[in-house]
């Protein structure tokens, strides 16, 4: 059945397309253009071809930072996915108070990254933080949660999971509620226990959702910025300075907007490649 006015759907899309075009599309195009220039944000940009990419790719600091970011993402994505799936599974078991716990686990998602980072910064401080104060009550020496590079990374990973797990939990809950109960009933008749049902029904049926969550997690955590900056400032000794902060510091701290744009373009390419690989490996998320 054909609409009498086929332009109507496009008209509805227009406001969003305008907003997207002006605030995302156009700056992205400018970003690509500037990545081939030397520009300090004020004077005219000078076209320098691939020089920015050459500078970046031959800079050992870039590779160190990229490796650091990858370690962070590799640690935080599986942890978030497992925690989110575990919580979603528990909260769809029909246990008493599930709705209350659902709200509690979702609460951190509603806190802005900056505020969440600052709160945990206070809690985790070595000399004045709440956790070390509690440890001191049982005669445990203060831990450098934010001043020791290893502990700082662990702190950032745990705070990230705490802050974001509720959001991905909701996606998993939606996926779990979409699995037909008849599958579980049939498995029970065949004598399957809880673990077998989870392994042979829940996990395969959640495959498209899991892929979506992994891709979303990967993109989001690779771009992590506000939470980490307000929690550790990228320290100590750059131990938690990840990709976007590096880009931000290059562009806005050093006034190297051409280099910053090139870094953004490289980030875009990295995320595109990883997403494609994930898509291929999971066969497009088909069950």
């Amino acid at each position: 059945m054909k609409s009498e006015k086929p332009w109507i759907p496009y008209a509805f899309l227009l406001p969003n397309a305008l907003i997207f075009g002006i605030f995302v599309g156009l700056p992205a195009v400018y970003g690509i253009v500037y990545s081939f220039t030397e520009w300090n944000g004020i004077s005219s940009a000078t076209f320098i071809g691939l020089e920015n990419f050459k500078t970046i790719l031959t800079d050992s600091e870039f590779w160190t930072m990229l490796f650091r970011t990858l370690i962070y993402v590799i640690a935080v994505v599986p942890l978030t996915v497992v925690c989110a799936l575990g919580l979603a599974w528990l909260l769809t078991r029909g246990l008493k108070g599930s709705n209350v716990f659902r709200a509690i686990f979702f609460l951190p998602v509603m806190i802005s990254f900056i505020v969440a980072g600052l709160i945990w910064n206070w809690i985790l401080q070595t000399d004045t933080g709440l956790i070390n104060y509690i440890l001191s009550l049982v005669d445990i020496e203060p831990v450098g949660w934010l001043s020791n590079p290893v502990f700082a990374n662990i702190s950032v990973i745990l705070v990230t999971v705490w802050n974001r797990v509720g959001f991905f939990m909701l996606i998993f809950i939606a996926g779990l509620l979409n699995i037909s109960p008849t599958l579980y009933e049939a498995a029970e008749i065949d004598g399957a226990g809880t673990w077998k049902k989870f392994r042979n029904i829940t996990i395969p049926m959640l495959r498209p959702i899991t892929l979506l969550v992994i891709i979303l997690c990967f993109i989001e955590f690779f771009k992590t910025f506000a939470l980490v900056v307000s929690l550790t400032g990228g320290g100590p000794i750059n131990a938690t300075r990840y990709y976007v902060q590096y880009t931000y510091d290059t562009a806005f701290g050093m006034g190297e907007f051409g280099l910053g744009s090139a870094l953004s373009l490289i980030l875009f390419v990295i995320m595109g490649i990883v997403t494609l690989i994930q898509w291929k490996v999971s066969n497009g998320g088909r069950v």
Binding site: L14, P15, I42, Q125, S147, P149, G233, G235, G255
Partner: protein
């Protein structure tokens, strides 16, 4: 019935989008279209200087009724981004308060011709203020106030520990006496920690200058930071951390030193005169300012704030006229005395400050004995942004035990491109 409703909804949405995309309301009248000139001023405040500045603009307005001011309060961290955004968007502000003219030098109006004889103007400034007026030999900024580093202390804790602070320039601590004094206060008073030392390469560099070193060579084209004076400074800084006189949580954990001192946890705070107003208003214990220790020589670090206007400002002429008024002896005296700042003018002395005169006299004294090398180093706009980041990182690596002080300072020199262009 559904289609008209959808059309109305779409119309409203489109309207909202169009409204969102349209330019903001004009902030002032164009001088060319009427008598009134509105000067857009990008401003940041550490203390009450914003209020004092407003009073001065009111005075100016009473003398120049055709001028209005649109003061755009901006967080310090966002100053240069805001300036860059406005300049590159063709909407340069008329005036801005900044602390690093080099960060936006391409956009600044050259003031050589605007202030008459440049040298004549420079002669009105203290030597430590002059380097802040120029970028690459061009006069682009008017220094409005100077800053000096200094030492705040908690009087109660020092009394509890029986430690006396130097009350004149005759009995200033050396580095060793200073470390012992703070350690004694920490151990014999209610203070939880000794010295809160700002995590700032500028504050850190105080030790380099006190030991007779400097960061750059005199021509600013090579680094001297790996010479023995600077290495010894880092050894001393590391020792202060190892003896737990300075808590590691500031330089390695990002803890706020202001909060540590203001909340009565630290016995002393090495910071600068910009915190006077803050402590005056918010610290609910007796505190004071005393002289910083010395090694080879006494030294603070000369910094400051400047006022600038832009090549593309709409009201350049009126902006320059106001800058001349703002830096005039009478107005600058009012500004620095009420804001608790140090004047950049050499002809303003013995200021009666609105408060904390005793503390301000110590800051003034610290600045008066500070070598010009400090201002020369820190106004090396070409290389300092990169070098100061490296100083922070390599000092942190030393405190973390990953490098020796000599390795850390060598690393700055080896990884820097100072003098390569």
């Amino acid at each position: 019935m559904k289609k008209p409703a959808a059309m109305i909804a779409m119309g409203v949405l489109s309207g909202l989008v169009a409204a969102g995309c349209s330019g903001g309301e004009e902030t002032g009248q164009d001088s060319s279209s009427g008598d009134t000139v509105t000067l857009d001023v990008i401003w940041f405040s550490d203390g009450n200087e914003g209020e004092v500045f407003k009073e001065i603009t009111e005075d100016y307005k009473s003398e120049n009724p055709n001028v209005e001011f649109n003061i755009i309060e901006t967080p310090y961290d966002d100053i240069y981004n805001r300036i860059r955004t406005r300049v590159s968007g063709g909407d340069a502000p008329d005036l801005a308060r900044i602390s690093n003219p080099g960060a936006v030098s391409d956009a600044l109006l050259r003031l050589d011709g605007e202030f008459g004889n440049k040298e004549e103007f420079y002669n009105q400034l203290k030597p430590s203020a002059r380097p802040w007026a120029e970028v690459n030999g061009e006069f682009v900024a008017v220094p409005t106030d100077l800053t000096a580093h200094g030492l705040y202390y908690n009087k109660e804790y020092f009394e509890q520990a029986g430690v006396e602070v130097p009350d004149s320039t005759e009995d200033i601590w050396n580095w060793s006496e200073f470390a012992d004094a703070i350690e004694k206060v920490k151990e014999n008073s209610d203070a939880r920690m000794g010295l809160a030392y700002d995590m700032s390469p500028s504050r850190y560099s105080t030790l380099i200058y006190q030991n007779g070193g400097r960061i750059f060579s005199e021509d600013g084209q090579s680094l001297k930071i790996n010479e023995s004076e600077s290495v010894e400074a880092l050894e001393y800084f590391n020792e202060l951390h190892e003896r737990e006189i300075i808590p590691q949580s500031i330089w390695l954990g990002g803890e706020n030193p202001n909060s540590l001192f203001r909340s009565g946890q630290a016995a002393a705070h090495l910071s600068g005169n910009w915190n006077l107003q803050n402590y005056s208003d918010n610290a609910d214990f007796e505190w004071g300012v005393t002289y910083m220790p010395q090694k080879a020589q006494r030294s603070s670090v000369a910094g400051g704030k400047q006022m600038v206007t832009f090549k593309d400002s709409e009201h350049k002429e009126e902006a320059v006229k106001f800058m001349k008024y703002f830096i005039s002896k009478e107005q600058n005296k009012k500004y620095v005395s009420e804001s608790l700042f140090i004047s950049p003018r050499s002809d303003i002395e013995n200021i009666e400050y609105a408060a904390e005169t005793e503390a301000m006299n110590i800051f003034n004294n610290e600045l008066s004995v500070t070598p010009e090398a400090t201002a020369e180093d820190w106004s090396n706009f070409e290389y300092m942004p990169d070098v100061e980041q490296k100083i922070t990182e390599n000092v942190q690596r030393t405190l973390d035990g990953a490098m020796t002080p000599q390795e850390a300072m060598d690393s700055i020199v080896e990884s820097s491109d100072v003098g390569s262009e």
